[in-house]
């Protein structure tokens, strides 16, 4: 395989992000009082290397072979998730969650991350065979099951943040294969109803709106009734569900709405993160010079809140540059998905795009306080081996799809 077959814009943006990420992670370990994060960048570099190898291996697999292996990969992913529920262990700030698989006491990885790729592959395999865009709820059902099983398994760990990513992937894929946005809205409506149920007026308005949309879109009567009933049911069970959430999950949700309600625990994180980012100003305090970070005010500054270090040390300029790089990466992925020669790769690449997009919006939004704290990692920045490997393998699939597209005659741009 000759080098020109590689997609240079994709490699360029990924390389730049990986290098910046490693530098920021190094800086996150530079504190006045030594923390666990001190040498973590070295391990992250190792994971980057492993991820690179993973990407090369995936790149060498043809889409046809990958498609053939998909059911097996998906089954393995689910099996690992089930095993995690029974034998999983917690770690670090999320010690209460069972999200790790351990072998002889050594934590080897988080199956939820690899399950994201497996779900994307399975969704792609399912949707590529569709003759028409799935535009009834019944047609959406199989895809919902494919993404729903891992979502539920991950939510049981309990890891709501990662569960959210599976839903993001599902909606991205469904949109890409031509499902009408109205139908997607209806599909999402029970969840919106759940969120709206915390205040009676807002829920009343939502139900009225939903009724209007149902009349406007005119799905089958049976389905319309089912959706409407699901919404009402969600509104009713919302309080019961709320009571069943673990206290820390409740805290996270309430402190998202009002960070000062719990200044010590989760609200404290957001307040400190905002102070760090805000004090960075336009140009930042300089590499490794962040004072909030130095005093270890920042919680989980090498994983969930790594972007606060970017904001504090590189300022708004650094934020714009990294956001632009992320935007560039997503654009390249969309372009590759658009030009993919086979429908399978087309969906896979778009699914990877959806996954990365969900992670970026949720993680960066969380550090600035416009998203609830869920603890999902930022691609290329947050320390974590499983997710690094997952992203790299996704990029490897995209590189392969780009090569196939180019060989089929698409020119640059």
């Amino acid at each position: 395989m000759r080098a020109p077959e590689l997609d240079k814009p994709l490699l360029g943006t990924c390389g730049a992000l990986a290098l910046i990420g490693l530098a920021v992670l190094y800086s996150a370990g530079q504190t006045d009082v030594r923390t666990v994060a001190a040498d973590i960048w070295e391990r992250q570099a190792l994971w980057l290397l492993i991820g690179g190898i993973g990407a090369v291996l995936v790149y060498r697999i043809s889409p046809q072979l990958l498609e053939w292996a998909t059911p097996g990969i998906y089954a393995l992913g689910l099996l690992l998730l089930v095993a995690t529920l029974f034998f999983g262990t917690g770690a670090g700030t999320a010690a209460g969650n069972k999200s790790w698989i351990s072998v002889f006491g050594v934590r080897v990885g988080q199956p939820a991350e690899l399950a994201k790729l497996a779900t994307i592959l399975m969704l792609a395999r399912h949707t590529e065979g569709l003759r028409d865009p799935p535009n009834t709820l019944r047609a959406l059902f199989p895809a919902c099951v494919i993404a729903g099983i891992p979502t539920v398994l991950v939510a049981l760990q309990p890891d709501l943040g990662s569960a959210l990513v599976f839903i993001g992937i599902l909606f991205a894929v469904l949109f890409w294969v031509g499902t009408s946005p109205w139908l997607l809205l209806l599909l999402a409506s029970p969840i919106i109803s759940l969120l709206m149920a915390f205040s009676t007026p807002s829920w009343g308005i939502w139900i009225l709106l939903l009724t209007a949309v149902l009349i406007w879109v005119r799905p089958f009567v049976f389905e319309a009734v089912m959706i409407w009933l699901a919404n009402v049911l969600m509104g009713v069970v919302a309080l019961e569900l709320w009571r069943r959430l673990a206290p820390y999950q409740q805290n996270r949700l309430t402190s998202f709405l009002n960070p000062e309600s719990d200044p010590r625990a989760t609200g404290w994180h957001v307040i400190q993160s905002k102070v760090a980012i805000g004090s960075g100003g336009l140009l930042g305090k300089g590499f490794t010079e962040g004072t909030q970070k130095r005093l270890a005010f920042l919680p989980a500054q090498h994983t969930d809140f790594v972007y606060s270090v970017v904001g504090e040390e590189f300022g708004f300029l650094g934020v714009v540059v990294t956001l632009a790089l992320f935007a560039g990466l997503l654009m390249v992925l969309i372009r590759i998905a658009r030009r993919a020669t086979d429908p399978f790769s087309c969906v896979v690449v778009f699914g990877v795009m959806g996954m990365i997009f969900t992670h970026i919006v949720e993680n960066i939004g969380m550090t600035i306080g416009i998203m609830p704290i869920t603890g999902i990692p930022l691609p290329f920045f947050s320390y974590g081996g499983s997710f690094m490997l997952t992203v790299c393998m996704g990029i490897g699939m995209a590189l392969r799809a780009a090569r196939e597209g180019r060989l089929a005659g698409y020119s640059e741009l």
């Binding site: 294969v177 010590r264 005093l295 904001g311 969309i334």
Partner: protein, 621 residues
């Protein structure tokens, strides 16, 4: 039209691009608002007005007895802390307040070190400060900008020395411990349990510290934080309700001879719940609270009497005559003997075994007696022969099975492991393969030899005897531990017979002077040979014999013989079962036979008593 038509794909790609740009643009706008427009506010918060979380210490949970009598509580105290921006400014402040507080330069270094560890938390300079100190510091507040004075709960043990070993005490966490995994969630300066229940249930008792925020302005003055909401209240630790019986515990403590060393335990054989645990000499745990006087503490740690040692669970003694019941239970279980079995050689004051003569404690001999009678009179010759009949390997195997090589599993820290040979290989190692004979079993049979047990482990065996179905629950203070039950493995009738024999010990046998009118007490005296001085005395008893409600065991170092312990134990039993009046009314006349074990026969010239004495705990020295 297929979803994969280039036209529709291109349209959706365009929509997606717009969505991506919209979201990332939105993020950029929010960052712009925070970083460029709101920057000055946040910069102020970050650099000039540092927000400092000041921990509000949580009160530790109460420890109560089974009826709610408080054994450990909290009383209000004050702690004095300093917030500083650097080590130098801390040093300057310390110099200013040193005359008031009374600090010397060596503590300066320690405090600065502690400050470096957690620079954004206040450094505690005086804990449990008297009110006069607090008020004189408050007067100087303007000159000591970073001063933080706050109420801090202080631990108090109302019963003092009576409950010292079982409740334990608390102490400030050390710098070394802070970096260990066990204390990962503990704040510097927090109190952690050091002994007894305080240590065992530290996590439950500790509670959750609250926090309050202050802002430190550019001059180092503390001002209440604005805009961070209210403070978070601390959460008190859980109340620990133990199975102890406070009046009984106090009775035990007051009736144990003050100048003697030893321990007494009382437990319910039906549930394994501990009713009292006392070790003598005791100490006052309140000495450790607040600024303890180093001289007093030093005395506690170096005293010959080892007051900090819990002799009930941390000291090992040769089990002596109480062990004879273990032998009897083994023999019945294996069918080697029953309660009416006679031995081939009647007791004539001793037993000739090959070239050695093993004495009975009674030089006149006991004559031809059954097992029940042998228990009653504690005949050594009978048990020598029983030991030989059982055989050494069977004795070792059964003792292991009955738990004499394992700790009782009581929920108190640092329980000592008993010492007992695991197998005959032990003797091979000690004396060489051919260097020993079956004669070692003769010493083992009367509770001497290579055997050292803790009081709690012997208590567990006697609660097997006293338990309705012959099983022993794990001794426990807080009834939620569920260990495996150990069973004696003898029939109910044999069990009843053993209890009757033990009743006879108190009614007519070696402990006859300790009878309590109206109460059927069964028990066994014992006298453990002590090569370092006068012998140790044992007595373990239970009552009422028909369905025992309480087992009480006592060990007294240098008591000369077990008959000195028996009246103490029977008084405790009658106090518990009959009430305070009965115990006081009983008068004792100690004219008793002496069942002290004969000096252990030296099996070999090089048989050293080292394995026992080394294990017998520091108390015997």
């Amino acid at each position: 039209m297929s979803w994969h038509h280039p036209y529709s794909i291109a349209r959706r790609a365009a929509v997606t691009s717009r969505v991506v740009w919209l979201f990332l643009g939105l993020l950029a706008v929010v960052f712009f608002r925070v970083q460029v427009i709101g920057s000055s506010r946040y910069r102020l918060q970050s650099e000039e007005n540092r927000l400092r979380p000041i921990p509000i210490p949580a009160a530790r949970g109460l420890v109560t007895d089974r009826n709610g009598v408080v054994l450990a509580e909290n009383v209000p105290g004050y702690s004095v802390g300093l917030i500083a921006s650097s080590g130098d400014s801390l040093r300057a402040m310390l110099r200013r307040i040193a005359p008031v507080v009374g600090l010397d330069s060596s503590t300066f270094d320690m405090l600065v070190r502690r400050f470096r560890r957690r620079p954004y938390e206040p450094v505690v300079i005086a804990r449990d400060a008297p009110f006069s100190l607090v008020s004189s510091l408050e007067e100087r507040r303007m000159r000591i900008p970073g001063l933080v004075i706050q109420a801090e709960p202080k631990r108090r043990y109302p019963l003092g020395p009576s409950t010292a070993h079982v409740v334990g005490y608390v102490n400030e966490v050390t710098e070394r411990e802070l970096s260990s995994a066990k204390f990962a969630s503990v704040r510097a300066g927090a109190l952690v349990g050091r002994d007894g229940l305080e240590r065992q249930y530290d996590d439950e008792l500790r509670g959750e510290d609250g926090v309050r925020f202050v802002e430190v302005d550019a001059l180092g003055h503390t001002v209440p934080a604005a805009g961070v909401g209210s403070q978070l209240e601390p959460r008190q630790g859980a109340t620990l309700r133990t199975s102890l019986d406070a009046p009984l515990q106090q009775f035990v403590a007051s009736s144990f001879p003050a100048n003697m060393r030893g321990a007494v335990m009382a437990m319910d054989p039906r549930t394994g719940e501990l009713l009292a645990l006392y070790s003598s000499p005791s100490y006052d745990p309140n000495l450790f609270i607040g600024g303890a006087d180093p001289k007093v503490l030093n005395e506690l740690f170096t005293s010959d009497a080892h007051p900090l040692l819990d002799r009930a669970i941390q000291a090992r003694y040769p089990p002596a005559s109480p062990w004879k019941l273990v032998m009897a239970a083994m023999a019945i279980k294996r069918g080697v003997a029953n309660l009416n079995t006679h031995m081939p050689t009647p007791c004539r004051g001793g037993l000739q075994y090959y070239n050695r003569y093993f004495h009975c404690w009674k030089a006149d001999g006991h004559g031809d007696i059954s097992l029940a009678e042998a228990i009653k009179v504690s005949c050594d010759v009978y048990f020598y022969q029983l030991g030989l009949k059982l055989g050494l390997s069977n004795v070792l195997e059964d003792a292991t099975e009955m738990g004499f090589r394992q700790r009782s599993g009581i929920d108190l820290p640092a329980e000592a492991w008993p010492a007992f040979p695991p197998s005959t290989a032990y003797y091979d190692r000690l004396y060489g393969r051919r260097g020993w004979t079956q004669a070692v079993v003769l010493n083992l049979a009367i509770g001497q030899g290579e055997n050292a047990q803790t009081l709690v482990n012997m208590m567990r065996f006697y609660s097997m005897l006293a338990n309705e179905s012959g099983v022993a629950p794990t001794p426990t203070l807080v009834a939620n531990t569920s260990g495996a039950l150990r069973s004696l493995g003898v029939s109910d009738t044999a069990l009843a017979g053993l209890r009757e024999a033990l009743l006879a010990v108190v009614e007519q046998g070696t402990a006859a002077g300790s009878r309590v009118a109206g109460l059927k007490i069964g028990g066994k005296t014992g006298t453990a040979q002590n090569p370092h001085g006068p012998d140790h005395g044992w007595f373990i008893g239970f009552a009422p014999v028909d369905s025992p409600k309480v087992v009480v065991g006592g060990i007294m170092e240098f008591a000369r013989h077990g008959t000195a312990v028996a009246p103490l134990v029977t008084r405790i039993i009658s106090y518990y079962l009959l009430g305070p009046g009965a115990a006081r009314a009983t008068d004792y006349q100690l004219i008793l036979p002496d069942d002290s074990a004969p000096p252990p026969q030296l099996i070999l010239p090089d048989t050293s008593s080292a394995p026992i004495t080394a294990n017998a705990g520091p108390g015997t020295r």
